[in-house]
Subunit: 207 residues, 4 copies
């Protein structure tokens, strides 16, 4: 396998990149200016150096956001204006980013790192359940009173919610609220083309 094929193999591992697209990217690299290549190589090699994983919510964050002191906790988790009584559980970084961008949530997050496939025998290996259970006591001391599951409205998302909720309930003694994102009509949904599940949810969650 020559070097081009080796890069193609790595590009193909990225989500959303197929063999044809991987090849087009390699062609770009072949004809790119030398210093673009040098810069890209350097950035790829060091991207994780600048990135830390928050030891509370497990989202990625940039070292540069931390001015002094402890660098194990991210800017959201150390922000005194964020409400510590509500923790939202999401699958991936892209999910909490979408919610942050919308500005509709001011609690804290926990990033599971993925969803649990139906075929998975060991949920702990596919998502951060152990890590979630570990930080739970700290969150409870901070006044945690509600955990919101914000996973995709897909079978795997619901499966993941169910399993993680079960594990949390086994561990938590205090009475705290467990909730899920509301179901109903999302923007643009049309009555005529809605599935039974959505119609049922939209009627029972009418307001």
């Amino acid at each position: 396998m020559n070097n081009q094929d080796k890069i193609i193999e790595i590009f193909k591992k990225m989500p959303g990149i197929g063999p044809r697209q991987a090849k087009r990217m390699v062609y770009y690299l072949l004809s790119a200016p030398k210093d673009t290549l040098k810069k890209l190589a350097e950035l790829v090699g060091t991207i994780q150096d600048d990135i830390l994983t928050c030891q509370m919510c497990f989202r990625y964050f940039s070292k540069s956001q931390i001015k002094n002191g402890d660098d194990s906790i991210c800017s959201i988790c150390r922000n005194p204006n964020r409400k510590k009584d509500t923790m939202m559980i999401v699958a991936r970084d892209a999910d909490y980013e979408s919610i942050e961008k919308s500005g509709v949530f001011d609690g804290v997050y926990f990033v599971l790192g993925g969803t649990i496939p139906f075929s998975s025998k060991n949920a702990e290996e596919t998502v951060r359940i152990k890590e979630l259970l570990n930080i739970l006591n700290i969150r409870l001391k901070e006044g945690l009173s509600e955990i919101i599951f914000a996973l995709n409205a897909t079978p795997e998302g619901e499966h993941t919610t169910n399993i993680v909720e079960l594990r949390l309930k086994e561990k938590i003694q205090k009475p705290i609220r467990f909730s899920k994102l509301g179901r109903g009509f999302s923007t643009g949904t049309e009555v005529e083309y809605s599935d039974k599940e959505t119609l049922k949810n939209a009627i029972s969650s009418r307001s």
Copy 2:
């Protein structure tokens, strides 16, 4: 304009039919068996004869559904098992049919006959507001206590809900509940790709 062009003109008025599709349909007619044409002509000419508009909910229904007695009221409105305390307002027949099919609603309906465009100066002319106000007293005597707006989660759907709700509130003295289909994640919605409105609704309607 020859006869083919005349048929094409009528076909083009049907929703979802463009000029090319209209032409393909005419070609079908040109080569169809004589008795298919005869049957189709007869059915088209008489389709409205068999169809009545319910004078309570204004949905279309077939005369054949009515065995005896008054034929101005449809089978849903005269069904003693349907709960008369809840009336769902929909834009079109296809909408209530979708809800009936899902089996998640056992109240009665009112079919507006469309939605109100933003540009419309006279809402009464585009949808059945007068008819709705007319039947209101009967529904109230039957025990109506909630009106659910089940319009598409689109700007025109919400606009229509707002205007019709206003007209109803001007008229109704009794305290009855006005509700709308719940907003949130519909089946398949993904957190990463959700718009702000949907995220906001899904968080505030969490359960």
Copy 3:
């Protein structure tokens, strides 16, 4: 089955119309003005009355195009400016119409009435082979020297060309030219995404 369902069944037989579209068309009919329905019924019932099939090329044409005399021959076949030395064989009326619209052909046509499926055991029953053989002598007397096959560049199109060409060659004694539409790059074709067949044809037909 009620009348609505009967119309839906007929609409569904039309090319390009599925069950959902058929239903939308019926809803249109239910709410259409009475006289639109009456006009449509009349047109559907009489559309074939006004239409003749040309006994030379078998395309449909309107009686109204024929001012006087024999109404068995269409305006293209009786047009003295059309070159009778070239006959183009097409599958359907929509095909010759597309070619007429482009204005790039001034010979005469023959409409097969369809293509021959690979599964068909009796080609004569699916397309107008007998009719084609019947009119051949007249065309030859008129000076026919070339037959162009203008079928889709699909397996079934090529299969049809092959079978019809074979039948014609069995019958025709005179040396006449048999040709097919040229293969190569159609408008918009890109080198990178072309299949082997198209590249091969484009190179061998380079000019």
Copy 4:
């Protein structure tokens, strides 16, 4: 701009990569194993080292293909079995690769490095016209007798063909053949939906 944003900027320059896809790729990098990152960085930094540009056809090729001797000429150009009498001009590497894969051409290539936009005032700056004129004498001595333009069947492709052909004709004294990929029906083209240009080409290139 932090390092993630810097990588996103570079990814966005690649053909077919938008901002969302660029971000997904960065998330992949953030969670990828350290040694994958190291390998990718190394490959990106050195990909051009292994790659040479053939001084005859200007396609990219891998050093590893050249066992000994001169490394300025690629394996196709030095292959004695390739016919030197026909040179095919393509826009990009991906184009000649598609043709090589199809196995329908055994001459030599010249890669222009792109197409000439209609807005371009200086064609020489956008594609390798000078380089093409430079190698021409060598090709002519090798017996070049035909130049095939194999550009996309798009306005910009034809524009590029026209300009490059003009430049070549100004320079070449000998009578050589200039040809273009044949136009007509590509695989799957349907008569009914063909544009005028394609129908015209398909009729005039009939065979």
